[in-house]
Symmetry: C2
Subunit: 388 residues, 2 copies
């Protein structure tokens, strides 16, 4: 910052070492889920994701993450009832969402709504995080997003119906009509697949915040902010942008060749941990085949096949595979969601995992407070401003 | 969760290993600040905190953290002008704060206000975090808190005056009258002392969120949530509670003896990193001597001396020293702040360091994504609900 030219460069920064980003460093132990990156395997509480996908409901998966085992019929009925009871939002939260401009990013609205929930006199989120709070927050996520989605279109929020499951309720509150099975079923599979994923950046954020003894809404507000980042959850709409830009299956080869020649990054491939196909991508591919139009699925499939072949040819050492974002785009657009609601919908699923991680952290808590390596100068002496 | 009895216990959790909380693990390199725990030394950008305390203004310290060097006279005047220009809050943010109940915790209101700022159409916080955003956010923190502080008393927020410095503006916006020098000077020293502190939990939270490519308000919203935790920044009001409960210097010995006999934790002593006196405690002791009433200072001093002696006697291996919270209580209550505004005032200072850390993270970014150790079961097979 020199003079009043509004320069935004940070000057006088010493050269920092290449950051490791805690890669490979074990930050916590967890019994919730694990990503076996080399094998392309995801496990929730002992269940390979293939054991659960399409068989377990989202509520069964949430119960599994929270409680460590699948619910009995009575336990599941009880959970569905409690979710239904907890869905309505406090008036204060709706008022806050109403104050936000229609141009706000839905993730900003979600983050603000969750924070406002923690500040509201619902009186539920002041104490040590517990299962009741996890259920309440998971129940309210769809409604916060749906309220913003409707208000930005000039529509009033829709009150939830207690007989809906989570996937049904989300679509009902978004669109204001009974969801068709061909829409809510793929949405539910999506919700089960994204519900947890080891020690990713947003989950880690939630655990760091919770480790200070802060409340559940603080932890989850932070997690929403982290998920927003394009290096974490904030990029699936870019897959849709890419597919829409390609336009049709016959354009795929030319479009991809030009993009790679320009050095552009192809969206929907590669992952920090997976060095094999993301198992969620495989399941979502099947969902996309069911839910998308034949043309859009053909476009997606062709793009995937050609992109993988070209990436293998051009970057053989990178081991780039289809990631979860690629077919998320097809599934979520097929059920009627615009691109800017993709990452928030990811959060509607992940809140189950985030809250389960916070409960696990609190069951055996220690403040997460790393060290830093100091690479700055030392022994500077203060000089009065007149002498500078 | 069994039946509908509202049980909140998390059952079927496997025994987790004792968490290390990343203690001693280097999570990032930084040139901003460092805590030399063994020596009881805190350095900002090469300056020992004793070089800066009482000499550098809060704005000089913020500039130092952001830019790596102390400002010239012209640069400081420019920064003060820009802070003055950036202080007024968007109407949407005030509306959001107005929607919160008067019973909300000020930290919840601050977290929600910062998040709402990121969602507002101020249009400033959508891009890659930069210095303009850091200045804007630092300028707005006092106003967000002051607005809530006044609204919860049924008073209207006060518009900031551009000629004030940060400490003056904060007190002016809180109390609606020109602050006396005997109040704003100790407040300013407090703000300089708390502005950064190595890789603490809230700073680390901000860097993890920023490392995903998310925006500055997301990162700082998360940091506010982390600072709220009693194991991090959320306990200084408990020192005040303790001192008020002791009541007078002659009660100190009896009160402390009874508390320690009961096994109670004394507030304001001990720190994860410092194994010597926190240098900030020493400086704040001097400020408290100036700002407090003689009686309250005597009570504080006597409590500190006797507590240190008793802790040394009872827990000789713990190396417990006075921490920054102890005299923060005396200084902040002397300037008229109630206990529940202590941690938020900490945030008014720390936002300078948080934003500087985010800028540093973005200057050399890599996603912070640790590993976890999986301690859960494996190879479970799905059983349909009818057979469970």
């Amino acid at each position: 910052m020199t003079g009043s030219n509004g320069s935004t460069a940070v000057s006088d920064q010493p050269a920092l070492p290449k950051p490791e980003g805690l890669e490979g460093v074990v930050a916590a132990s967890t019994a919730l889920s694990h990503v076996f990156g080399e094998e392309g395997k995801l496990v929730y509480r002992g269940f390979d994701i293939h054991e659960l996908a399409g068989k377990a409901s989202f509520e069964e998966v949430a119960y599994l993450l929270w409680m460590g085992q699948l619910p009995t019929r009575g336990e599941l009925a009880d959970l569905l009832q409690r979710l239904g009871e907890q869905r309505p939002l406090p008036t204060q939260v709706i008022d806050v969402i109403r104050d936000l401009p229609a141009t706000a990013a839905p993730m900003d609205a979600l983050r603000t709504g969750v924070s406002a929930l923690g500040a509201s006199d619902a009186g539920q989120f002041d104490d040590v995080p517990d299962l009741d709070e996890a259920i309440s927050l998971t129940a309210k996520f769809p409604g916060i997003l749906a309220a913003f989605f409707r208000l930005r279109q000039g529509l009033e929020p829709v009150s939830p119906r207690s007989e809906h499951n989570t996937a049904q309720s989300y679509l009902y509150q978004l669109f204001g009509r009974e969801p068709e099975e061909k829409h809510w079923r793929p949405s539910e599979v999506y919700l089960t697949l994204l519900a947890d994923h080891g020690m990713n950046a947003s989950t880690f954020t939630a655990r760091v915040i919770a480790s200070t003894g802060s409340d559940l809404c603080s932890a989850i507000t932070g997690a929403v902010g982290a998920l927003k980042g394009p290096l974490h959850g904030g990029a699936p709409s870019k897959v849709l942008d890419m597919l829409e830009d390609i336009g049709s299956a016959e354009n795929v080869d030319r479009w991809l060749t030009e993009a790679l020649d320009r050095g552009d990054r192809l969206m929907g491939f590669g992952h920090r941990v997976y060095k094999a196909e993301d198992p969620r991508a495989e399941i979502l591919r099947g969902m996309a085949a069911e839910a998308s139009t034949p043309d859009f699925f053909e476009l997606s499939r062709r793009t995937e096949e050609r992109a993988l072949a070209m990436l293998q040819e051009r970057k053989p050492d990178r081991r780039l595979y289809t990631n979860v974002e690629f077919y998320s785009a097809a599934v979520l657009s097929a059920v009627g969601l615009p691109g800017d609601m993709f990452t928030p919908t990811f959060a509607v699923s992940r809140v189950a995992g985030w809250t389960a991680h916070v409960l696990e952290q609190m069951s055996n808590n220690r403040l997460i407070r790393p060290q830093s390596e100091f690479v700055g100068p030392m022994d500077k002496k203060f000089v009065a401003i007149e002498q500078r």
